[in-house]
Assembly symmetry: C2
Homo-oligomer: 234 residues x 2
């Protein structure tokens, strides 16, 4: 099958997200999905995305926090204030990537990365409804730091006014993942007798570091302390 | 000082990278740099970037491997074949981000992330010189897996022909970092008596997982085995 033929087929055999020309999955050696549950799983495992926006005719890729609530992904407007607030009708791409390991094959050509990646496209909507704005900020906070929204001081009216919240529909998206050993275990290169496999990459939370202006014996709250040593997203 | 005034100043007080409208540092609470050494340090600590390219009028943000050799950042063309090979005169943005910790403040508003981020802009050049192509592929391989280039089978003529390598000059770039405790230790919120600090995020290599088709007792080579337990980029 030629690459061109493959590009016109939906390799997931279906799914419940909208498949468009830009989210159709083209690279066949990796697993693709247009299922909402797969999208949710990738998004739930992280809290930093890379937001791509055209700014003054050039693409800009900015790392920024995100939060998920229901069918929306929320972003802080301040991060993208140069672009999104000025040009609210611009389609953006939000990419969330988790690197899981280095795929060490018998040839340079077969090397790769095990990963989980979600790409969401859409025109962000500036949230004006005060209740939704609060919900978006809560989602952003809880995405990275579950329990903090209730623990710390919530936004004042002044702070709310100074913050833009943007909502992106979770409808046009694709998920790509790769896992498992290298692909050349049954190739001619297997005869080289080289070691091959995966070097896992693991992202974990460390021990909380108390703000030096606080008493040293002030213990972090349970919702923070309990994350030490835990793998991100687990 | 207003945000507008700040935006026209170079907060680094100099540096040896070209400062343009799109790499000028705007956000003041974080530390910015246009120094090549700072750029090199952020790039050296990782191996996956987020490449932003306009594709059919929409920005696309794709995670992909990169390598650094001298004054160039190298990318695999295959990843971006839909865009870069078809439109070689397009300016792209390559962003490399390391997340170092969650900044847990006394108020939602002051929450943030400790991170190191490099953004490189430029028009990628398709590498045609065979020697530079090999150098680019070597840089890509060694960036993620030092020692693998010499250990495994290097690219055949056929594989080289099937791979596009793109070079991006390391000239127009900016670096942003945040580190340290939250900023509200001397604010009114300090009186709330809440715990505040940083929850570190650490990315490490795990124990190598041997390809299941290989004998279990085949030990990984030293350049792989020695990375287990080590922090990425250290």
């Amino acid at each position: 099958m030629s690459a061109t033929t493959e590009a016109t087929a939906d390799p997931t055999g279906g799914g419940d997200l909208v498949v468009t020309e830009r989210t159709r999955l083209r690279r066949m050696r990796e697993k693709g999905s247009h299922r909402r549950a797969d999208l949710d799983a990738v998004l739930a495992a992280g809290f930093v995305c890379h937001l791509g926006v055209p700014v003054d005719g050039t693409t800009m890729v900015v790392p920024t926090g995100y939060g998920v609530d229901g069918d929306h992904l929320y972003l802080h407007g301040s991060v993208a204030s140069r672009s999104l607030v000025q040009a609210p009708d611009t389609t953006v791409c939000v990419t969330v990537t988790h690197v899981d390991g280095l795929v060490l094959a018998r040839s340079v050509f077969e090397h790769g990365v095990n990963y989980r990646c979600a790409m969401v496209y859409g025109i962000p909507r500036i949230v004006t409804d005060p209740e939704e704005k609060l919900r978006g900020l809560r989602a952003l906070t809880e995405q990275s730091s579950p329990g903090q929204w209730e623990y710390v001081r919530q936004p004042s009216r002044k702070e709310l006014a100074a913050t833009s919240v943007l909502a992106l529909d979770l409808t046009e998206a694709s998920v790509k993942t790769r896992s498992g050993p290298p692909d050349d275990g049954d190739s001619e290169d297997a005869a080289l007798g080289l070691w091959a496999g995966v070097l896992p990459v693991v992202t974990t939370f460390g021990e909380p570091v108390t703000d030096p202006v606080l008493p040293e014996d002030l213990a972090p709250p349970a919702h923070v302390a309990s994350r030490a040593g835990r793998v991100l997203g687990e």
